[in-house]
């Protein structure tokens, strides 16, 4: 049985580096996956991933380990937001521009349930392309929830929004993924059976 994060942190603080290595092994996949899909390039993802852990090490005494993964995601979220602010403006599908309806308003209520038609072999590329189209805040909620299994209450804290906003973002993300996957399948011929 895996050792709880609190114990691993305590062991690391007491001088056991292997305990820290165990934490890295435990969380590297959901964290890297989230970063990789939230920044623009793999090099950037590597930088952010490394910086998250370096910051965690520097501030290790501030974390009691009860919500270690949420803490890592909060560090990652802050780093990514900083990078977005410094580099490129975020285009949100929720924003209305020049009086035109927001892109999200054009989403139909009922889709064709494209998730149901997805075949395992083609899932990866399809969902990756669909995820890439999501605004960063919705993508974050989706990945934190689905990939890292972080509860909505924690996601809301990480994003500094209400839990209702986090839930709404997840609903938008699912709706947009449904559309994007349907379009992707139609254009690639996948699932058109």
């Amino acid at each position: 049985m895996a050792m709880p994060d609190q114990e691993l942190l305590a062991k690391y603080r007491a001088g056991d580096v292997r305990a820290f290595e165990e934490l890295v092994q435990k969380y590297k996949n959901p964290l890297y996956s989230y970063i990789l899909r939230t920044v623009y390039t793999r090099d950037e993802a590597d930088d952010v991933f490394q910086e998250v852990w370096l910051r965690a090490i520097r501030n290790i005494d501030r974390c009691d380990g009860r919500k270690f993964l949420s803490w890592l995601f909060r560090i990652a979220h802050n780093l990514i937001i900083d990078r977005y602010r410094k580099s490129r403006p975020v285009v949100s599908l929720d924003e209305k521009k020049d009086g035109a309806p927001a892109l999200v308003d054009n989403l139909p209520d009922k889709g064709e349930a494209p998730f149901r038609r997805m075949i395992d072999g083609e899932t990866g590329a399809t969902i990756d392309r669909a995820l890439a189209l999501l605004p960063v805040e919705q993508k974050e909620v989706f990945l934190m929830r689905v990939q890292a299994d972080i509860p909505f209450k924690e996601i809301a804290r990480i994003q500094r929004v209400s839990i209702n906003t986090a839930l709404a973002r997840m609903q938008y993300a699912l709706a947009k993924l449904r559309i994007a996957i349907a379009e992707d399948m139609a254009s690639t011929g996948g699932g058109a059976k």
Partner: protein, 177 residues
């Protein structure tokens, strides 16, 4: 699907994350039994989550990044070890300083009160006798305390002393011949 479906969809999300309480869960189950749209949303969530987990499951950082992180973790521990004795010494010094200050304050607060000699008043001579131990001896031998007597000390005086004191008192009160 009705106007409340957005609320029930939120409940579906909270059920999936294990954040829905028992009462809301029962309400949601009752709604799902009669709402196809919300049931479809629930299945869609499960499929999307499954697809995303399969897709993202193989994402791992390069080994060189992991190695750098672990090196930083080792360095941090070494730095902590180097820092610890200094921090410990500082803490001991701070504790010792605090103890000295506390002791000084305690000594100031508890030092024997310096008796304030009270000069005899003509109307109530007995009530004005000074009781302070420190001054009792001094009052007998110090010329400055000539006009003072101690009640406690009176009990320790012998007959000759009493005679001398009586005379002193009478002199002070202007009764001596």
């Amino acid at each position: 699907m009705n106007d409340k479906c957005d609320i029930y969809k939120n409940m579906v999300l909270l059920l999936d994350s294990g954040e829905l309480d028992a009462r809301d869960r029962r309400e949601l189950e009752a709604h799902l039994a009669r709402c196809g749209a919300c049931r479809e949303f629930q299945s869609e969530l499960a499929r999307a989550a499954g697809a995303a987990r399969r897709t993202c499951g193989g994402d791992n950082p390069p080994a060189r990044i992991e190695a750098r992180i672990l090196t930083a973790a080792v360095d941090h521990l070494a730095e902590r070890r180097r820092r610890t004795p200094l921090v410990f010494t500082r803490r001991i010094l701070a504790a010792a300083a605090a103890l000295c200050i506390a002791l000084g304050i305690w000594m100031l607060a508890n030092r024997a009160p310096r008796s304030v000699p009270v000069r005899l008043a003509e109307s109530e001579p007995e009530a004005q006798y000074e009781i302070g131990v420190e001054n009792e001896i001094a009052s007998l031998f110090d010329p400055e305390f000539d006009d003072l007597v101690s009640v406690e000390l009176l009990s320790e005086l012998d007959a000759d002393d009493f005679t001398a004191l009586d005379r002193e008192l009478m002199l002070l009160e202007g009764l001596a011949i």
